[in-house]
């Protein structure tokens, strides 16, 4: 099935950026709020992307309601990929037509899209998503449903370790960042990367990795302290660096 008609739920920055990406690729795409869903004609929609924030009880409920109203063939995708896609898939009542899509920031300049396969996601659904990503001119990687997927899991480990190195007092923040730039060809040091991502987001990811995968991911106490202090990185003007 070729995806031609896309509905994005969530009139937020990410939702609009993804909408732009789809429209530029010539797909018919609409960005709407969940409240407007009731008035929407869903018959022509091939794919619904849920761009609402990370999961809550409310989200689970809304996916169930959306799932019920969609035509049989329609694929339901969520951007909430970090925390248990399979659980959301099951509440959508169409687990075979349920998939995670993770657009590597910054959207709409995304180069990488991770397609997340839940336990029951069908091959047909994966194939349709692969085709969609190809038509957007992006690179698709299909990954299993697991905390942090692939990219976030590996980079979270590096950022966490950089914070440990800082906490142990092995080197200064600038030294740590410049070493990874010169020694490992990173375009950005891991502490700068953490500040851009948001320290609260990093902490949540590590907590989940630690809970599901194992203690090798336990977050550095310094990271926890920074989040408690409200120093969340660029977005609050202060993280490992000062942006004020």
């Amino acid at each position: 099935m070729a995806i031609q008609n896309v509905l994005i739920l969530g009139e937020n920055t990410v939702g609009r950026a993804i909408g732009d990406m789809m429209s530029q690729a010539g797909l018919s795409c609409e960005v709407a709020n969940r409240a407007a869903l009731a008035d929407q004609d869903l018959a022509p929609v091939d794919l619904v992307i849920d761009a609402l924030p990370e999961p809550t009880a409310e989200k689970t409920l809304s996916l169930e309601q959306i799932g019920r109203r969609l035509p049989e063939r329609t694929i339901l995708a969520t951007l909430a990929t970090s925390f248990g896609l399979t659980g959301l898939a099951s509440s959508s009542r169409r687990p075979d037509r349920f998939v995670g899509l993770h657009f590597q920031p910054p959207a709409p300049d995304t180069r990488l899209i991770q397609i997340v396969r839940g336990l029951d996601t069908s091959e047909t659904t994966i194939a349709a998503c692969r085709e969609l990503v190809a038509s957007l001119g992006r690179t698709a990687i299909v990954v299993k449903d697991s905390p942090g997927l692939v990219y976030q899991r590996v980079t979270a480990a590096v950022m966490n370790e950089a914070i440990y190195v800082l906490w142990y007092g092995l080197a200064s923040r600038e030294e740590i960042d410049s070493m990874m730039k010169y020694g490992a060809n990173f375009p950005m040091g891991p502490l700068e990367m953490a500040d851009s991502l948001g320290l609260d987001v990093l902490l949540d990811t590590l907590e989940e990795l630690c809970r599901v995968i194992g203690p090798e991911h336990r977050p550095c106490p310094l990271l926890r302290q920074m989040v408690s202090a409200g120093h969340l990185g660029k977005k609050t003007g202060k993280g490992f660096y000062d942006y004020s």
Binding site: V143, L170, A171, A184, F186, P187, G214, E216
Partner: protein, 282 residues
Amino acid sequence: MEIKKVGVAGCGMMGSGITQICARSGYSVVVLEANEELLKKGLSNIEGSLARAVERGKMSGEEKAATMGRIQGTVKVADFADCDLVIEAVPEDVELKRRVFADLDRVCPPHAILGSNTSSIPIMKMASATKRMDKVLGMHFFNPAHIMKLLEIIKTIATSDETMATVTEFGKSLGKTVVPVKDMPGFIVTRLLVVQLLEAVRALQDGLASARDIDEAQKLGLNIPMGPFEEIDLVGLDVLLNVADAMYQETKDPKWAAPPLLRQMVDAGYLGYKVKRGFYNY
């Protein structure tokens, strides 16, 4: 103290790069190998690398000849007798390195500084094999040593400030960015890189995605030139396993416990690019 003559123990991948950058920067270099055959191979690698630099217009034929002229190969450790600094770059084996440091301590002049290019062994293990612990430090170059701009210098609890200052100047004279770090397991770059590489292996082992796809995700997401599996294949799976085991031994922290998949591949002899088979086939 001024460094005029440099010794390099070992002319493998790292030793030959270090020899080359020192000689290119104007130092007289004595490079030691275990036997004539390995020495010949190491020197011809340096010659080949310089020839490529000439082809690319990075240096003239005269400069190449002058650089080779400053390099003296040897198989006798006694030829380090007039060196001001010796950099050890033998395989990552603690006992071997301790023997080399004991030898260096015996033959080198009392003022000479001894540096180790280890990426994971605590420097104090080597320093304690000598009677000059204040003059022993880590000098961690990155592969390829004549190109990568970073030099981590590692201070043990016994290394003197004077030694650190002399080597900092020396590193700058090679055109390196010199960063001092403490003698803690893995120092800094290795530590962060190994976390990245081991996590990639665990993600593969958990069946999250293929090696190729994980590499692609890391390259596109992080904007780095090489994915973790390409990097591991180049470094050598055995080398990564040794580093992880050494870090685990030192810290008992589960994050350094090598994933079984890595150990199986090493047991199977799939060591990476050097044997044409690792996570990829070559």
